[in-house]
Subunit: 168 residues, 6 copies
């Protein structure tokens, strides 16, 4: 009834040999400290950027709300991504930097755990939801805001080793 | 103790006149049928794209899992985005189209309600989480996959009227 | 990009004409009062039944915990069943009756709403989770407990009309 | 199998005539606009209060995080309080005022809906979780922080009429 | 104030000596690898079975949706079953096999962890929600579908030892 | 991009040196057994207290529902309190004692884990939500019920050592 976990494709690790999605067995892995960093870009019109920057001055609530949303979303990752393992998380940090050249915001998310599997999806979920929250705060002003370039920046720990994106 | 809801900036509708984030009062609005469509792009290496396409043939589980994840995420929108109103949702549809020119996938999400406020964030959340799920399925093969160009495609219903993105 | 909602099969209403799962559009339906009643049976050894009955006497916590679990689970239905619509719920009642002939318990769940679509899945989810909770309370005593015969007892309201199960 | 909803006690409305907890039937009620305001007090040592006030200056993140936590918690009310009805919510506002006389913070929460039942529990949940979040931010400094005097300040709309607390 | 954890009944482990439900203390147990397998049967009319089988051909979305729902539900177990311990989960697999003799489907769920307590309830929850999802997909066609025979198939690891159901 | 975790204030451990809220890094800490006990008081009119006591006799559902709500809420702590770490929990116990001198109820919550960080917030969340649930059960009878004196009673385990509140 249960089957060996070799995949239909060695790379699509979430498929078993029948091509069915499953949450793969990580119970034989040793827990190690793992960290992942992801990024997202939010690009908007100069007027929108100026309004957010101005609106944020009073209480810091525009960027603060997006940071908190990103942190809380990282904790929901295994409830959102069907085949993600539920893990204890040991650190979550979301940083949002205004960039007048975009214009818009760069959002970095860092997640750390000591576990049998990595936290790339947690870092990516954190920056995605922080970006969606910025969108939500400013959508009354501009509907053409774009979220761009969500990707993994780095990854340390785990059997597959460290990762840094290719230099372009 | 409670204050009028005029904003510190007429456009940042989620800030009150003290600059504090709040969930704005929509109780005076009339419920109308509203629909929003959003899109996300997932771009990858040709080999990754080929592997997903091949892996999906057996049971359809790669794209099927991402579609279901997007639909379920739309229902979590008000739990993820701090200032979103919880709404009944009347339709959620996620469509994922392979595009060998990217190479990668185009993900469209459509959400419909009859309510006092719109469903842009639900559509955007649906496509974002569907994209993250595709990422998760293929991350064993390629870590440089990118999620790009998340934006609103159209919006109908509500006082602010219909929206289509500017033609470039 | 969006398509008409006629199904690949007129009866599998959750599939569109491409065979893809979607949350169907109910926005054109008129909200009406709807009620659904479902049942589940939990069957066990006489000794297990006697132990639960005895253990429940002190504070009523065995059956009380299962009732509360069923009520709370009904509210999670649209988060658990991927294509269920999130709805306001107007009444949830779970009743657990000991039956020494089984021996075990009959669990009835009643859910009511005023909405565009019905609450059969909410009633079925309520009795299923109440049954699982009884199982959990007694699993230290007997692992062969069975949950049986989960089905819809009746349904009123909505376009498809009232339903009562066939008399056998 | 289903029973009339008259209570074992006319006042304990969540008990049926058998004394069993249920989510009462509100389907016969007419939706009206309802608002509730609740308050909580967080009392601490002067040094703790001074540290929070100082720490909040840089980015506003101490009070901002507590406000967002309260707003998001209001949306979880029916998932936390077993017999609460899930409702659409039309406004949520949390305000946190420093009070050097306590010393500590006064937290007011305002929730509004148009529904068949009221939002007292949503307002009370908002202030409770905002208070717990303040506690969490400062617990490294002082473990004897107290949350006090959580109560309803006012309630408007609904059949039971408006409410203001007795003047002491 | 806190009490020893001996139960009112040695077998109803979730009751303390006052008969009150509690989440029992497992902190003294040693984490070991544990696996549980559960099963559920979904029985329906031959016409319903034929329609699901036909509808599943195009994209695999009928069975695929139910599998994903079961996997995601396993991760919600401790949120649904009041006295279940929240655990990291290391593997979740749901397999749905058509059986024309029923006619209907057999659903097997396998869950694995390395923890202080077992995952029987996670496996049982996975198959229950997968079954409910099949029900939901086909309820437009037949309301008399039944979910039957939810029970534990096997359990390995932990102090209480391995379990296989009695041969009938 | 990522920064050292020294705080703007050594005591407000959830702020980094820029004053931004983050979930602090506990990955270098050794997991130890930790326990926390918290208390809340619910104070009401004598008539309300008498009605709850009378209503509870039949099935124990008033206090039983509040106990279960508290236990389940403890498991939601990291989803409610933005900067709390998600942890496995090894024991949760909620005890509700009637006190005719208040009149009202004393609610004690005990939570235990073996983890890198403590469970004070889990214990405080448990008693807060149990208190809110009592409020909900009785609010039809009295709207001036107050929740008072939520605080930490004791804490053992962890680097900061044991804690007992000051004797007054």
């Amino acid at each position: 009834m249960t089957q060996d976990n070799f995949s239909i494709s060695p790379q699509l690790t979430h498929l078993d040999h029948q091509g069915e999605a499953q949450m793969v067995d990580v119970s034989a892995k040793v827990p190690t400290v793992r960290e992942a960093v992801a990024v997202a870009i939010v690009r908007m019109q100069p007027e929108t950027f100026a309004a957010i920057q101005a609106g944020n001055i009073a209480k810091g609530d525009v960027l603060g709300t997006a940071r908190i949303a990103g942190i809380m979303a990282a904790k929901q990752t295994s409830n959102l991504i069907p085949l993600c393992h539920p893990l204890p998380l040991h650190k979550i940090k979301v940083e949002i930097t205004p960039d007048s050249n975009l214009p818009g915001y760069q959002i970095y998310g860092t997640v750390k755990t000591k576990a049998e599997t990595g936290v790339e999806m947690e870092a990516l979920t954190a920056v995605s939801v922080a970006a969606l929250t910025l969108y939500d705060m400013a959508k009354g002003l501009e509907k053409s805001i774009q979220i761009e370039s969500i990707h993994l920046v780095s990854k340390t720990g785990g059997k597959s080793g460290d990762y840094s994106p290719p230099v372009v």
